[in-house]
Structures are given as structure tokens and as C-alpha cells.
Amino acid sequence: MSSARATALSSNPNEPQPAPASPAEPMRGARILLECLLEEGADTIFGYPGGAILHVYDELAKMRGRIRHVLVRHEQGAVHAAEGYARSSGRVGVAMVTSGPGATNTITGLANAYMDSTPIVVISGQVATHLIGNDAFQEADIVGITRPCTKYNYLVRDVHELAVIVKEAFYLARSGRPGPVLIDLPKDVSAQSCAFSYPSRVDLPSYRPSTLGHPLQVRRAVELMAKTEKAVLYVGGGVVASNGSAALLTLAERLNLPVTPTLMGLGCFPSGHELCLGMLGMHGTYAANMAMAKADLVVAIGARFDDRVTGKLEEFAKHATIVHVDIDPASVNKNVKVDVPIVGDAKSVLEQMLEVLPEGPAPGRDAWWNTLRTWQRDFPLSYRDEPGVIKPQALMRALAAITRGEAICATDVGQHQMWAAQYYPVRHGRSWLTSGGLGTMGYGLPAAMGAALAKPHRTVLLVTGDGSFQMTLQELATCVAENLDVKVVIMNNGCLGMVRQWQELFYSRRYSEVGMKFFPDFVKLAEAYGAKGLRATKPEELSAVLEEGFATRGVVVMDVIVSEEENVYPMIPAGAAHYEIVMAPDAGAAPPEPRDLA
């Protein structure tokens, strides 16, 4: 019965295709919108229909074959999917929803994309213009609501403005510091007609993002890098966003510079490269954090001195001259006083740096590298295996091995995210999808779905937790419906692990609402959604489950039961200095003193 219903209501791929409308003829706003998306090369939309956006969905039905629409199961999923699509492909992701609750469900995704500078355009239906402000059915002031969590937003008040607005929205989303743009389209505007012509250029007189850095500042930065012994490159999502990895690699190699990526920067410098110290920050490596604490020169590129990276600001890189390359002037001098500010696109500035590199061999930095190597040797990432229990870190190592580090790895938020960041060797840019700034549980599955659509030939791995997964797991249905190839690994410790860790360390083990009392059977759940479900509970079961899971095409959910009371180490407690880093209790460092949360 249900399958018959699905057939009756699903689109028929064999329907005859109408020819693209001639530009001279007047077109409905709904059609203009879709033609604009195609002009921008946006041929995939993640969306969910509803009353106020019906005209657009009606036009969509006439354009099958030209635009792929992915029907999600919740609007939050549409936005995260657009984010995953954008981050993995470098293109602008698109989501489309109806007014009111459809639009308000996009807010978490918009805020997430805003924090992580992800280029997406979200189109929301709106009630007809004459009803706006009347508390109409499914009305919400979404332009007002999303103003603080979008780079820009628009209410389309006249169909004649529509093409210009779409053109601007895509330009704003991908240029400068990328970010989300929302277009609110009232129903009557989508029904009005006008002649369609797509503008060839945007006219935004007040918006002039810098690309190139100031040449003198670039030269100063290079001189400092060449002559300062204890230098470190601290590189973030800006290098990924600007596709600056190749230039970064050349710079680091030519100047023999240690490199530490942020959580958002993972993959912009090859993990495992001899110059790579691993991630820095709250759960970064000892070597990376101590390098920041002891450096004479910190060169930040496309990173924004987030509190999870700096720790205690007064102690942050105390001995260092600080160079900061960022496309956003407001990020410079925001948290940390910068000595050499360079406003520009990370890749462009890196290339400018390469042009003025001094001739001759790379500086040796022997003493500095000796110190760094000692830290790496004495305080590596470590965990203790226990018989009969799968350790989360061991699971990550197994996943790295089975995918050879070549998967696009998506995560949710929590302990599993940090273990994935520590142990999954991301080798390329655009291969790591995580919610860094906002820390959105529930980001992972839809983001992985977006990546699987954008990059159908890559293995897409989602590492999630039993808590995060339950926030957006309805998108399993979308993944199955779209025949996507997504490998979901649930790091199942039966509790909200990161919250539990903080309660253990900072609240005297007074565990408060971190155990969920009931969990669904994730294997049966996967099967109910038409996916394959597998489970590993003991170390000896793990490799067989992973092998079967990764050998199976389609959506596979692997429920891996891991040790419950495992903590993520190293850890710099919130508000502490880098040198106060706490190592795993058996790794030779003192256990943490209880302290209040910052």
C-alpha cells in the first residue's frame, strides 16, 4: 500500500521535458527564481514544500531533469545538507522552505553556516505581501528573525527585483568571508510575472571585500617568518574556503615551518606531513598547544582566535609576535592584539607571500624543531586499550585504516567529534565536515547527505554519537530515498559523553541528565528506514562490521558500542592557558584540579 502510494505521488522521470522558456516572454516569479538558480549553476536544491512556496514547487514540477530537488524530512536537514554540499564542493548550497515553521526550522542551520562561514542561499516562502504583519497563517518575520544569523537577507517586495536579488545573494554568499544569505519570497510575488533577464553583474556600492593583502605587510610577515626561530603557522577554515592548501604547503616547506590546523582547518594541510603538529586548541595535541605557548612568532591564516583555540587570552602566545591574515577586518584585533594585520583572502595572501620569499635554503630552526619533536615523542595522543571493550580512539584508527583516510568525514558534536578530529587523518581540503563555531548536534547526517550528493564518487563517512544522531536521524529516509552512499558510524557510549566528561571533571561527577534511560535499537531503526544496520559490541567484532559496512553500497548504520567513561584528552580546561594542558591520566601528567567553569 505504502509503496503504491509512493509511486503515485513520486515524480515520473519519463515525462516529456518542456523547453526552457524564452527570456523575452514574461515569466512568473516562481519560474524566474528557478531560472536564476540555474544561471548560478545551482542544480541541486534541498527543500520541503508548503503553502507559501507552492508556486515555486509548481514550477519545479515543470522543470524536472533541469533541477534536482532533494525532499528532506525536516527543514533543519535541508540547510545542513546545503552546508555539506557547499563545504565538500566549494559551490553555493541551496535550501528552499515554506513560510512560518518551515522558515524558523532553518535558523539553526543558518546560524551554523554563519559561524562557520559556509556559502549557502536559503529561499523561504512568505505569506502574500498584503498579509505581512497581519499574523497570517504560517507567518513569521523571518527576515527580522534571521538578521543576526545571516550575512545578509532579503524580502522580495516586487517581482522586478527578484533576479537582481538572487544574483546578489549568490555573490554575497560566496565572496569575501562566505556566509548564508536568506531570500524571503512572498507568495503573491512568486505569482507575479515580468520579463526575465539575468543581470550580468552585481551593483553593491558599499560592499568591497579585500582580496589581496597590503604588500608591505605581506613583506613584513615573510621577513618575520624567515628570521624568527620559534615560528608556527596556525591555519584555519579560511585556507579551506579559499582553496589555499597548495600555497600553504609550499610556504611551510620553503620556510620549514611547523603547522597546526584548527578544527575547521583540518585537511588544509596534509595530516601526517612531517611539518604538521596536529590540531591545536581545547583538545589539540600537546605539541601544537605548547608550540603556541612558547612560540616567538604566530602566523594565523584564515583562523579567528576562537576561545576554544586561545584558552586564557592573557596567556595566549604570550611571547609571540602575531601576524594575522584574514578576509574579515572585524576578525583582526577582535580577541587578540595583532602586530601585523593582513586583510585579504588566505590563498591570495599566501601566494603573495610566496612571491617575496627570500632565496636560499630553508631556515633550519634546529633548536625549535628539537623541542617540538621532543614534545611529540613524549606526549603523543594516547589512550589505554582495555580487554573486551572497544575504545573510541581504536574505532577511529580502524575507520582511518579502512578508508585509508580518503573519505569525506562528517561529524556531529561532542566527544566523538574530538576523537574524529584527533585520529581521522584528513588529507585534503573539503573532506572534513564538522560544526565548529556553533557546535550543532544534528549537523552530521544531513551534512554527510549533502556531501554524498555533491561528491557521489567519494566515500562519505559520518562519525556520530548516540545523542547527536537522534537529533536529525529522520534524514536517513532522505538518504535511502535518494540512493545515497553514506556510511554512518555511531560511537555509542550510551550517554551524552562530552557533557558527562565535564560533569566528571568540573562538577565532582554529579551526573545530571546525561544518560538517556532509553535508546532505540539503532540496527532495527536503520532497517526500518530501509538502510542496512550492523552492530559491534566487542573489539573482535569490529573489523568484520566495518568491512561489511564499507563493502555494502548505500546507507549503512554501524552501531559501535564503545566504553562509556572514556574522556577526551588532552584537554585545556575552558579559560585555562595552553601550558595548563591536561594529558590522559596515565600519560605522565598530573590529573586536573577541580575548577569552576569559565
Binding site: 538578521r147 543576526p148 524580502l155
Partner: protein, 176 residues
């Protein structure tokens, strides 16, 4: 007032842009002490003049965040003596009896204010001056009995010959 800054913000005159300027302050925990908005000679732009408080780092961040707004063309810190600042004050004072009326007329003549409306026992007086001078003006009137008072937000303009000056925070680059 300590660390007081007068910022002049040139913004495209479009629906909803003022809300972005104001929302930036509330959203990021900055203060707005006063706000004045009107259209410029070019009707495509509005000028927002606002006063705020904060140390150097905070004001630098406010200016940068304002410049980052997509429709903000220019932000100038008008807080030094290269600019002239005025606010408008309307005040209704009691003036029952000849002596009181004479006293109002004396204060008005002394301060360059003017009487813009009157009733048998009250005058409404208008003055425009820098904020501090208005404080002093109100102190002069207070003994007579102030019935009502309204002050506008200050506005500011560069002194003639220094129009290009006043940008105490040089732009670091474009917007993002």
C-alpha cells in the same frame, strides 16, 4: 562622559537597514546612548549619527562591525575637535507672573535660545547646542519649573576644511 564616541554612519537608504545597525549593537553587547537618522543630500543614502561608549578596542570593534554591514558605505568617528556636535532641546517652563517671564526672556537672550510657543503661564523654548551646554541650559531653567522637556540625539558634522578628517580609525581593508 568617559570614552564617549560619536559615530557617523553613512548607510544606503533601504528598507530594514537601520534595524541591522541597531541590531548589531544589541546583538554584540555594545551600548547605544543616542541615535539620530535622516536622509542625506543624496536620497539614496541615510546618515545615522549615534553615540556609544567603550574603550579603544571596543570602539574599534564597533566601527569594524558597522563597516562589515553590507549596506554601510562609510563609518567616521566624530569624537574629536575636528567635528561640531549639536543636539536640539525643546523645553516648556512655567512663567506665571511678570518676573518669571522676564527671567525666561533673560535666559533666552543669554543663551541664544528662542521662544517658539507660549501660553498665559508657560513658554516653550527651543535651543540647539552641544550636549553639555544643553545640560547647563536646563540647569538655568530648572528653578523656574520645567513642565516638559524633549532632547534629540546629537548630530555631528566635520568642521569646514576638515571634511576628509575625522577618520581616526583607518580602514584596514574592505568588508567581509
Amino acid at each position: 562622559m568617559k570614552n564617549r564616541h560619536v559615530l557617523s554612519v553613512l548607510v544606503e537608504n533601504r528598507f530594514g537597514e537601520l534595524a541591522r545597525v541597531v541590531g548589531l549593537f544589541s546583538g554584540r553587547g555594545f551600548n547605544i546612548d543616542s541615535l539620530a537618522v535622516n536622509v542625506t543630500l543624496d536620497p539614496a543614502f541615510s546618515r545615522v549619527v549615534l553615540t556609544t561608549r567603550g574603550n579603544e578596542a571596543i570602539v574599534e570593534q564597533i566601527v569594524k562591525q558597522l563597516r562589515k554591514l553590507i549596506r554601510v558605505q562609510k563609518v567616521v568617528d566624530m569624537s574629536d575637535d575636528r567635528s561640531i556636535e549639536r543636539e536640539l532641546c525643546l523645553v516648556t517652563v512655567q512663567a506665571a507672573g511678570a518676573r518669571a517671564r522676564q527671567e525666561v526672556e533673560r535666559i533666552v537672550a543669554l543663551t541664544g535660545a528662542r521662544i517658539i510657543a507660549y501660553a498665559p503661564a508657560a513658554f516653550t523654548v527651543e535651543t540647539s547646542a552641544a550636549s553639555q551646554e544643553i545640560d547647563q541650559f536646563l540647569e538655568l531653567l530648572r528653578p523656574l519649573g520645567i513642565r516638559d522637556m524633549v532632547r534629540s540625539a546629537p548630530i555631528a558634522i566635520a568642521r569646514p576644511g576638515t571634511e576628509a578628517a575625522g577618520e581616526s580609525i583607518p580602514p584596514l581593508g574592505g568588508v567581509a
